[in-house]
C-alpha cells in the first residue's frame, strides 16, 4: 500500500525555522493521529505536504509511493492522490459550489454522469443543505459547515491519503460522532493523517498510530495507548 514517508524535514517561513527535522510515516488504510500543543508545527506540516508555496523546505525529503513529492506542484500532488482538508477553508466569491465540485472531480477522476446525484446524496449525509450548492464556494458557511464540506470533498474525491487539519475543531458533538464514523469507513482505503486539537474525536476512532509534535519535531510515536498516557500526564512528560 502506498505511503507518505517524511524524513528529516526542515522548513522555514519568512526566514524563521518552523520544522526542525520531522520524521513521519502515513500509510494508506491506516489512521494516524497527530497531536501537540499550539504552535508545534502540525498545521505547517500539513501545508508543506500539500505544497503550500508560503513555506520553504530547507532540508529533508517527502516521498509518496517512493516518488519525490517535493518536486511536484500542488495540483500534481492532488492528482497523485493527496488531499488536505484546510483548517480554515477559503471563500471564493462568484465560484459556484456545485461547479467547483464537478470541476474538481472531473479533473481528478474523469466524467461521471451520476456525479451530481452523488454530490447531493453526500450533502444530505453530512447535514448540509442542498441550497449551499447554489452559493459561492464556502461563502456564508458557518465554521462547522465549512469543516463538514471539507469532509464531503474527501468522500467525493476519494484520495489515497487525506490530511485533516483540525477538522474537528468547531464541530458539535453530533458532527464529531459522524466524522468518526465516516473516517472509520473511509479508512479501509484511505490513509488519514488526523491533526486534532481536542480529543473528543478519539472517542469514536481507534487510531493505528499516534504521534506527538512539539517545537517542530515529532517527539514521540506509539499506538493508541499513547493517548491514555497523554490524557493522564499531558504533553510535558513526553519530552
Amino acid at each position: 500500500m502506498e505511503q507518505i514517508e517524511i524524513n528529516g524535514l526542515e522548513v522555514s517561513v519568512n526566514q524563521k525555522k518552523v520544522l526542525n527535522g520531522v520524521d513521519l510515516l502515513i500509510q494508506r488504510g491506516k489512521i494516524h493521529v497527530l497531536m501537540g500543543p499550539n504552535g508545534s508545527g502540525k498545521s505547517t506540516l500539513a501545508n508543506v505536504i500539500m505544497g503550500n508555496p508560503k513555506y520553504t523546505v530547507t532540508s529533508g525529503s517527502i516521498k509518496f509511493d517512493r516518488e519525490d513529492l517535493l518536486k511536484l506542484k500542488v495540483n500534481e500532488r492532488a492528482k497523485k492522490g493527496i488531499f488536505l482538508a484546510f483548517q480554515e477553508p477559503v471563500e471564493i466569491s462568484g465560484v459556484n459550489t456545485m461547479n467547483f465540485l464537478v470541476t474538481a472531480y472531473t479533473n481528478l477522476k474523469g466524467k461521471d454522469p451520476e456525479l451530481r446525484k452523488e454530490i447531493i446524496k453526500e450533502m444530505d449525509e453530512l447535514n448540509l443543505p442542498d441550497s449551499f450548492l447554489k452559493r459561492s464556494l464556502n461563502e456564508g458557511f458557518s465554521g462547522g459547515e465549512k469543516k463538514r464540506f471539507e469532509l464531503l470533498q474527501v468522500m467525493l474525491l476519494k484520495p489515497k491519503i487525506a490530511i485533516l487539519d483540525e477538522i474537528d475543531s468547531g464541530m458539535d458533538i453530533d458532527s464529531v460522532r459522524m466524522l468518526g464514523e465516516i473516517t472509520k469507513n473511509l479508512s479501509k482505503d484511505i490513509g488519514f493523517l488526523m491533526i486534532t486539537h481536542n480529543d473528543h474525536i478519539l472517542d469514536y476512532i481507534k487510531p493505528n498510530m499516534v504521534s506527538v509534535m512539539k517545537d517542530g519535531k515529532i517527539i514521540k510515536s506509539g499506538d493508541y495507548q499513547l493517548i491514555e498516557q497523554i490524557k493522564k500526564e499531558g504533553y510535558k512528560q513526553l519530552i
Binding site: 500539500m50 505544497g51 503550500n52 508555496p53 508560503k54 506542484k73 500542488v74 495540483n75 500532488r77 492532488a78 492528482k79 488531499f83 488536505l84 484546510f86 477553508p89 477559503v90 471564493i92 466569491s93 462568484g94 465560484v95 459556484n96 467547483f100 470541476t103 474538481a104 479533473n107 481528478l108 459561492s136 464556494l137 470533498q153 474525491l157
Partner: protein, 464 residues
Amino acid sequence: MEKIEFDYSKYDFKNSTAKYKILFNEGLSEEVVRRISKLKDEPDWMTDFRITAYKFFVKRPVPEWGADLSKINFNNITYFARATDKKTDNWADLPEDIRETYDKLGIPEAEKNSLSGVEVMYESEVVYNNIKKDLEKLGIIFCDTDTAIRKYPELVKKYFGKVISPNDNKFAALNSAVWSGGSFIYVPKGVKVPMPLQAYFRINAANMGQFERTLIIADEGADVTYIEGCTAPVYSKDSLHAAVVEVIAHKNAHVKYITVQNWSSDVYNLVTKRAFAYENAFVEWVDANMGSKVTEKYPSVYLMEPGAKSNVLSVALANKGQHQDTGTKAVHLAPNTSSVIRSKSICLNGGRTTYRGLIKVKKGATDVKSSTRCDALIFDDFSRTDTYPYMEIDEEESTISHEASVGKIGDEQLFYLESRGLSELEAINMIVLGFISEFVEELPIEFAVEFNRLIKINMEGAVG
C-alpha cells in the same frame, strides 16, 4: 440593422470595395462636414447641427484629466468612409494576434472573413429579414440612424442631441459633426421587445462604425434590451473611435444596454453614453471593456423624475499597453431615485484600469439612495489601478455609500484550488471568472460562453 444592407453597395461589395470608397482623410474642416452631409442627402437641420458641432469641436481642448490622449493626430484620421472599406481585403493582412484569437475562440472560417470585412454573410440577411417583420408588426422601429433621419424625421429631430448636446465634450462634438451609422430604435407605448436587439449575427462588421451615433427611445411602459459589440477582437485601421449613444426611457420604461468592447490594441475608444430616465423608468448599462489602447467611457444615467432607477454593471480588463479609463455618472435630479453601481476591473502585464465615478445629488432630490461597489484585481507590480469616486451631495435626505477594494488573487485561494487538482492557470481562471460572475450572468448565453473564453485567453498572460 439596415446599414448592414450597405445601402448602396450590397451587391457590389463582394467584388470590389474600391468602387465606393469615399475617403476624407485630409483632416477635418467645415467644408468636409458639409460634404459629408451632402453625400448623405440630409435635411438642412442636420447639416446645421453638424456645422454647429464642428465649431464646438474646434474650440474645445483635448481633455487632460483622464488617460493620455496626447498622441491622437486629428489630421491623420479618416473622417468618413463607407462602412465597407475600412477593413482589409485580405485575411493575411490581419495582425497575427487577431488571427490567433479568432482561432482560439473557435470562430468558423466564414465568420472570420466577415469580421475582417473581406466578405459578407448573406445567410444572416435572411434571418434578419424575418425578425424585421415581427418587429414591424409590433410597431417597433429598428434601423440605422442614417435611414431613420430620412424615414422618421420628426421622431429623430425630437430627440437627437437632446441627451448629449454637441457641446458636451470634445469627442461628442466631433461625433456630432461627422457621425455616420449607428442604430435607431423606437419602441411604442407598452410594447415589450420580444428578443434582445443586436447584431443579428455576432459579427456585424459594419456595426463597428468609427463615429457611430445610436439613439434609443423607449416610450411609456416599453421594454427593450440592446446588445452591441462582440467578443472577437475587431480589427480596425482607424485609430480613433468616438461614438455617441443617447437613450431616453420614458415613464415606466425599461432599457437594458449591453456592450462588449474588444477593439484591437491600437484604437483610442472615446465614447459618450448617457440615458435620461423619467418617472419610474429603469435603465441598465452592462458594459465590458476588453480591448483598445485607450478607452474613456462613462455610461451615465440622469434620474430626471421621481421613481427613476439605474443599475450599472461594468467589467474592465487591461492587458499590456492598455488603459481602460471607465466609470459612470449617476445624476439624481429628482427625489426618490436610486442608483446602483458595480464595477470590476482586472489589470495585468503593465495594463492600467481607472475607475471614475460621479454620484451627484442635486438640492431638492430627497430620499435618494445610491450604492457603489468597485473591486479591482491587480496581478503584478507593472500594472496600475486607480479608483476615483466623486460624491457631490447637495441634499441631506440622501443615503450614499461607496466601497472599494484592491488586491491580488489570494494565495490561499490559489492554494486551495490547486490542492483540488487544478493547475495554476485553471485556478486563476476559476477565480477571475468568479470575480466577474455578476456581470457574466447578465449576458445572453452564447455571449457569456465566448466572453468566458476571452477572459481565459487574456489570463494566459498572467501565469509567470
